[in-house]
């Protein structure tokens, strides 16, 4: 069976702001994936010894590395916000006859996010 594929102009996602936002959200996965590869490289350098680790950390101070992390953070936040805001759409929770209001499902995500981020910062910096 050969599925019918509707031809789309290559730039269809530039036609509307909502399409562009969709494409940026999908693109966020590239930065998230790229970042975890970098994180893995950091752990590998850490395993190799102090000299290798210090050299890696010095490289992170280069303007290019800073620029990458600023862009990656922006995309990571876009992922976080779009992911949290999708929860009520992905999962409808009913309380008797009433559907749980979307905000009741979105807000706990943000609260949990702040708490988890605080715990990670505490473990890395002081724990």
């Amino acid at each position: 069976m050969k599925p019918y594929i509707r031809q789309m102009p290559a730039g269809w996602w530039l036609k509307r702001p909502s399409y562009l936002l969709f494409m940026l959200r999908e693109l966020s996965s590239v930065f998230v994936g790229g970042y975890v590869v970098l994180f893995l490289m950091m752990i590998r350098r850490l395993a190799q010894g102090p000299a290798e680790y210090e050299a890696f950390m010095a490289a992170l101070r280069s303007p290019l590395a800073i620029l990458f992390h600023v862009v990656a953070l922006a995309f990571a936040l876009l992922h976080t916000i779009t992911w949290f805001n999708l929860t009520p759409k992905a999962m409808a929770v009913w309380r008797g006859e009433e559907r749980l209001p979307p905000a009741m499902m979105i807000v706990p995500n943000y609260v949990g996010w702040v708490v988890v981020s605080g715990v990670i910062a505490w473990v890395v910096l002081g724990g």
Binding site: A10, E26, I66, S117, L125
Partner: protein, 116 residues
């Protein structure tokens, strides 16, 4: 309906999305920006402290999850984004390359963390 392994990839995508949403921003902020720009206390990310931290088994398990699941999240999204951009006819190749890369990354992470 034909049997499909799609649910496995979708579950990994979804789990990776949750991990990325909750954990990645603070990691980028701490290790990629605050550390290199000198916003943290002196020596906060020094070799000795970080090596001790990662030596802990729970931290290593955490790092494994943090690296592996977002790779599968990327693989799934990237595969379908390329299709949305009009790349058709090589679906199988794309799936193998994307999920394959995530599997390779996961194996390297397992090896690095196991032998740490």
């Amino acid at each position: 309906m034909a049997k499909s392994n799609e649910p496995i990839w979708w579950s990994l995508f979804s789990a990776g999305g949750v991990v990325a949403a909750f954990l990645i921003p603070i990691h980028i902020l701490l290790l990629g920006l605050a550390g290199p720009l000198g916003w943290l206390p002196q020596g906060a990310l020094d070799y000795g402290r970080m090596a001790d931290l990662v030596a802990h088994p729970i931290v290593r398990l955490y790092c494994f999850v943090l690296i592996s699941l977002p790779l599968f999240h990327w693989a799934h999204r990237f595969r379908f984004t390329l299709a949305d951009l009009g790349i058709h006819g090589i679906d199988m190749l794309l799936a193998v390359v994307c999920y394959g890369a995530a599997i390779v990354g996961t194996l390297i992470a397992a090896q690095v963390l196991w032998t740490f």
